[in-house]
Subunit: 345 residues, 2 copies
Amino acid sequence: MGLNVAVVGATGAVGREMLAVLEQRKFPASSVRAFASQRSAGVKLPYKAGEIVVEPVLDGWHNGIDCALLSAGSSISKAIAPAAAEAGVVVIDNSSAFRMVPSVPLIVPEINADDLPPRGKGCIIANPNCSAIILLMGLTPLHRAFGVERMVVSTYQAASGAGAQAMAALEQETREAVAGGAPRATAFHEPYAFNLFSHNATVDPVTGLNGEEQKVIEESRKIWNDPSVRISVTCVRVPVMRAHCESVNVTLKTPATLAQVRERLGSFHGVSIVDDRLGNRFPTPQKASGGDDVLVGRLRADPSQLPPGASPDSPTRGFDLFVAGDQLRKGAALNAVQIAERMFL
Amino acid sequence: MGLNVAVVGATGAVGREMLAVLEQRKFPASSVRAFASQRSAGVKLPYKAGEIVVEPVLDGWHNGIDCALLSAGSSISKAIAPAAAEAGVVVIDNSSAFRMVPSVPLIVPEINADDLPPRGKGCIIANPNCSAIILLMGLTPLHRAFGVERMVVSTYQAASGAGAQAMAALEQETREAVAGGAPRATAFHEPYAFNLFSHNATVDPVTGLNGEEQKVIEESRKIWNDPSVRISVTCVRVPVMRAHCESVNVTLKTPATLAQVRERLGSFHGVSIVDDRLGNRFPTPQKASGGDDVLVGRLRADPSQLPPGASPDSPTRGFDLFVAGDQLRKGAALNAVQIAERMFL
C-alpha cells in the first residue's frame, strides 16, 4: 500500500529534481503523477524505467492524492494549495506563498521537524527559501551549541534559483561571449556571462533590502523560532549553474574554540566538512552540485573578534565559514521530499 | 623635457594595462621602454600610434630612467628595485615584495598621498593589493567622516588578479564547458568554468587566513595608518574576467544617516555611486570593467545593527554596501600611474 504522490510544476527545474529525488530515495509511492500548466500538458518526463505524462491542473486534480509537492510559483500555490489541504492532502509547497503565514510550518527536517503538523490529515507545509536552508544547515549546529547572536552573510547564488530558463540563458549568453559576442541581458536585468549582479528580487525602496534578503532574515528567524537573531545579508547572483555558496561571519552568544565548532558541524546530519587548509580545498559549487549534503569549510576564528594577540585556537565568539549547497536539491527538491518522508514514513 | 619611463613586466596583463593607462592619461613621457623576461624580449607591444619592442632586464636597465613601474612578480622586484631606487629611479612596485616594509610607503593617491616620499630622489613606492585598493576607495570616505571600527568583507574576485594566463584559462575552460566537456582545472586548484572557489593564495595553517586575506587586513591598516581597524575578510575567486566586487558590512565609530553616507561617498574623487533601488541597478564587474572609478552601491542601513523598530533612515553605526572596481586599472595599473603623476606632475 504505497502513497499517491503529485508533483505540481513538474516540468520546471525544481519539479524535475523532485521526480529524480523521489526515485533516488525510493520514496514508497504507488503512483506519481506530474502536473504543470496547460501549455506543458502531454510532455513526457522520465521517471524510473518509464515516463510520466504531464497533466494540466484541473478541478479535482488532487482527488486520491496523499501528498502533493508544489513548485509552480506563488500564485498557483495560493490558488490550489488551500483546497487540496482541506481535502486531506499533505501539501508541501516550495513557493514563498505561505512561508510567513503563522499557522503554516516552515520546515528544514534536520532543524525543526518538531514543528511538523500531526500526521493523518491535510495540511500545508512550506519549504523554505533555498538560501535560508543552506545557511541554516551550516549554522544550526553552532546555534544549538553556542547560540547565534548575529550573522553577516554574502551569497554567491546560482542560476537555478531562477529556474530552468535562467540556467539555459546563462549557458547561451556564455556561449555567445566566448564566441566574441557583445554582452546581452536575456534572462535578468544584467548580462550574466562572466558577470555577477545584485539578486534580481525587487528591492524595497525604504529598507534597501531585496526580496531574497528579506526572506533569508524572516525565514531564518521563523525556522529557528528566534526573532532576536540579528542578520545582515547581501544576495548576489553569480554565473554558476546549480549550487549556492554563502560566506558567513558569525558572532556566537557564548565563546567556543575552533575545535568545538568543527566537532559540532561534523556531527550534524546533512553537513559535510570540506576544510583542507594545506591543500586549499574548500566548498565549491561544483563539489556541492548533485549532492545532498551542505558543505562547510573555511572554518576559522574571525580575527576581527579575537582579542589582539589571542591565539586563533582560543575560545572566541567570532568565526568565519563558507557553505555550499545544491540549490535544486537541499535548497528545494530534496528538502521537500525529506519533509514528505517525515510525514509518511 | 618629458620623463623617461620604464614598464617592467610589460607583457603581463597589468604591464599591458600600464602602457594603455600611460597613453590614455597622456603621461608626459619623452620615452617609454618596456622590459620583461628574456623569453619575451623582442615582443612588440602597441603604444600610441606605434609599437615598443620589449627588452630583457639586463644590468644597467634603469640607466636614464626617471620612473619605473614594476609588475613582474615579487622575486623580480626584490632583485631589481633596491638598486634602481639607489640609482635615483622612482620605482613604483605592483608586487607584494615591499608593501609591508615600514620604510616603504604604500599608496592609494586619493587616500594617503601625504605618505609619498619627497620628490627629486630615488625611492620605492608600493602599489597595494587590488582587493585592498578597491575596498578602501569605497570605505575611506566613511572612515574619514565617521571612523570605521570594523568591516566584514566577502570578495568576488576576477581572473585578472592571477594574470593573463588565468584569464585565458577561464575563457578556454568555459569554451570547453559550453561544448559539453567535463570540468577541468587548468590554471587553479579547482575548475573555473561556472564555478567559484576560495582564493588560490596559500592558507596559513594556524590562522586559516589565506595570503590574499592577510594582505587586505595588513595593507588596509597601513594605508589608513590605523592598526586598530578590525577586519574579517573572505577572498573568493569567481568566473569573471577583470573586475573585483566586494560585499562589505561596516560598523562605524559614530552614527550616521544613510543620506550622510551617500553624500560622503558621492563627493569622494574616484568613487561613483551606482545605487538605483527601483531599477535594481547596482555595481557589477561589467559596469566597472575598463573604467577608472570604483563603483559603490547597495547602500543601506544594516538591519542587524539597527535597534528594533528604528527607521532605516535614522542614524546608525551599521551599513551594508557593495563595491566594484576594475582590477587591472584602479586595482593595479591606474593606481600605479596615479602615483607616478603625484611624484612628477
